[in-house]
């Protein structure tokens, strides 16, 4: 049994490494922004201030340059940006409305959280039982047929399936709404509006889940098979343990390998939400990100990409925490590569 302090030390090290990686992430985002040809202010003026007089343009230019800190040296700019980031002051967006980036993000956060958590739940609710089922019947027809089917799912791009589902379920059959997050003209907070919301969520959430489904189910199958093959399970089987107990033992061992899978699935869902939210006009961060990229809204793009990397890093750290809690065998002293 490792001592408590060893575990704490290990977790601290993981945490500090994660912070270091996040510093690197911000550095990368910053570097991408400054390697780019053309400067954001000129682009902004060309797009949004074409009709202004020359003097007004120049005034706006110098004002924006000062606001974005482009008149300072690069290290200084990075330091300022980092300081602002730490204070959660993300500046103003370069879209015509010039609203605060943090306000924009906070507005869209609930949408993504709702959709993301629903589909994360769906992924595991569907693919864990599937993986278990396939592993239980390894080599028999349910397994072979199921795996072949998963291969097909894996190769069909989720946005294609989403378009087909839109065609079948909302255009042809009219069962589900085409897009958006709610119908107009309903009271916020009323029961009808909650139902509407749920109805609007079915398609995007299940298609977002679909993207990670095949991978997670396959992975689960592999993990369960691997732990079922271990000596202690064989021993338990030899002792004549009933199937149900055998299953719980296998599951308990599989859980350890499945924890990091949660973090991986979350990363996949974040990436998928960009496309799915755009497709279904779901008001979330993914849609905001696409709008920001389209509008060359640099402060917003940088903030959002740093934020999503932060979420991924945090989920990896959470997986580390869960692993340390769940598995007493992790060797905390050994160097992990």
């Amino acid at each position: 049994m490792p001592r408590r302090s060893e575990r704490a030390l290990y977790l601290w090290r993981r945490f500090l490494l994660g912070m270091l990686t996040f510093a690197g992430v911000t550095g990368l985002v910053f570097t991408i922004g400054h390697l780019a040809p053309g400067d954001p202010v000129t682009l902004y003026l060309d797009v949004h201030a074409a009709e202004l007089s020359l003097e007004a343009r120049e005034a706006l230019r110098s004002e924006l340059t000062r606001e974005l800190g482009l008149d300072r040296s690069l290290p200084e700019q990075y330091a300022c940006w980092m300081a602002d980031l730490c204070r959660l002051d993300l500046g103003r967006s370069l879209a015509p409305d010039r609203r605060k980036v943090s306000r924009k993000i906070l507005e869209r956060l609930p949408g993504t959280l709702l959709l993301g958590s629903a589909s994360l739940f769906l992924v595991f609710a569907v693919s864990l039982p599937l993986g278990l089922l396939f592993a239980r019947h390894q080599g028999q027809w349910p397994d072979r047929l199921g795996c072949a089917f998963l291969d097909l799912l894996y190769a069909a791009p989720y946005f294609w399936v989403a378009v087909l589902a839109q065609y079948a379920l909302s255009v042809k059959l009219g069962w589900l709404p085409f897009g958006g997050s709610a119908s107009f003209g309903l009271d916020q907070g009323s029961l009808a509006s909650a139902g509407e919301r749920l109805l609007h969520m079915i398609l995007p959430a299940s298609l977002l889940a679909y993207g990670s489904l095949a991978f997670v189910a396959r992975f689960t199958r592999g993990v369960v098979l691997e732990s079922a093959g271990q000596t202690c399970v064989a021993l338990a089987r030899a002792h004549g343990l009933p199937g149900r107990k055998l299953l719980t033992r296998t599951l308990r061992m599989s859980i350890l390998a499945l924890i990091p899978l949660g973090a991986t699935a979350l990363s996949g869902i974040l990436a998928g939400s960009i496309v799915i939210e755009t497709l279904f006009s779901w008001p979330g961060l993914g849609q905001l990100f696409v709008e920001a990229v389209r509008g060359r809204d640099y402060p917003l793009v940088q903030a959002l990409s740093a934020l999503s990397a932060l979420i991924v890093l945090a989920s990896h750290f959470a997986a580390d925490l869960a692993m340390a809690w769940a598995d007493p065998r992790i060797s905390f002293g050994a160097k992990r590569s």
């Binding site: 027809w141 294609w160 087909l164």
Partner: protein, 320 residues
């Protein structure tokens, strides 16, 4: 179970065949889909090759009929439409003998656009894979073989790049860099190299203590040479399978980016771009939604199958 097995083999063969046809069609797109004839022999016995030379050929109307009647012999490609040729009278036409897969809202032939789109999609996929491979092998090799500070530093770099969800890094770069097909491939390659680097690094760490490396070092070879000539051949087998999946991933990324309108721009055809168009005409034109996705599906499943096969084959080879 035998029936399921044979069915699966059959499905795999059909898919492989379809993928090969697509790839060939994409490669030979100018000869397979063109509104110019391949060969003409005029009434005075003069041969010409409009599809190869790209000479002017009227796209439709009376002028085209005149041109056709002036020839003694005409041989058209299987698809008689160029990808950007707009036939006003044929807008949103469903699949028929004239337009095998139908037309889009501008009257452009879908089959032709998909063949040309395959050039873009497969080309971007290949180039991105190549870039990711070169980056991954170089940086992963440097980390694993070099060890010490290089390893520490490069491992952090790998971690930084893989902290982004797959599409996000690419999108961030797209926001700042001018779009274009080459830039798109570079961006996708730049955001996908870490898996290769991880594999190469791990394998290099495992292999560098072996006797043949030591003897190469003892005979005074430079590090880079040892890595390239002696170590790399032993490492390559671990990245064959990831490379196949990397290719799938790159194609998927390009399609997703074009689908949300931030990849290959109109009027250049790409599978993702055509699929994006389908959204606006979902009520009228199901073929616009079905066929581009089918192209993607066939390509992706063939490349995934290839990866799986290689994995099994390599696994068996190692056991022997």
């Amino acid at each position: 179970m035998r029936p399921a097995g044979t069915l699966r083999t059959l499905a795999t063969r059909v898919l492989a065949l379809a993928a090969a046809t697509l790839a060939l069609g994409a490669l030979a797109a100018p000869l397979a889909a063109n509104h110019r004839p391949l060969v003409t022999i005029s009434s005075v016995g003069e041969w010409s090759w409009p599809a190869f030379t790209g000479t002017y050929w009227p796209a439709s109307g009376v002028e085209r009929q005149d041109m056709e009647t002036a020839q003694e012999f005409l041989l058209y490609p299987p698809i008689r439409f160029s990808p950007e040729l707009q036939v006003r009278s044929d807008r949103l036409e469903s699949p028929s003998r004239a337009h095998l897969l139908g037309t889009d809202h501008l009257g452009r032939d879908l089959a032709s656009r998909l063949l040309y789109g395959g050039r873009v999609s497969l080309g971007v996929g290949l180039l991105a894979t190549l870039i990711a491979l070169v980056l991954g092998i170089t940086l992963g090799g440097l980390a694993g073989f070099g060890g010490g500070w290089a390893d520490l530093l490069l491992s952090r770099v790998i971690e930084i790049f893989s902290a982004f969800p797959s599409l996000l890094l690419a999108l961030t770069m797209i926001a700042f860099f001018p779009p274009g097909v080459l830039m798109l491939a570079t961006i996708i390659g730049l955001s996908a190299w870490t898996s290769i680097a991880r594999h190469v690094r791990a394998e290099a760490l495992r292999q560098r203590e072996r006797g043949f490396v030591e003897s190469a070092r003892a005979s005074g070879l430079r590090g880079s040479r040892i890595f390239l000539r002696h170590l790399l051949p032993h490492i390559l087998y671990v990245i064959v399978v990831p490379a196949a999946f990397l290719f799938s991933g790159a194609i998927l990324a390009e399609a997703a980016l074009s689908f949300i309108g931030l990849g290959v721009a109109e009027p250049s055809p790409s599978w993702g771009g055509v699929l994006a168009l389908a959204r606006s005409y979902l009520r009228e034109a199901w073929w616009l939604a079905l066929f581009p996705g089918l192209c993607l599906f066939v390509t992706l499943s063939a490349s995934n199958q290839l990866g799986e096969r290689l994995r099994t084959a390599l696994g068996q080879a190692r056991e022997r």
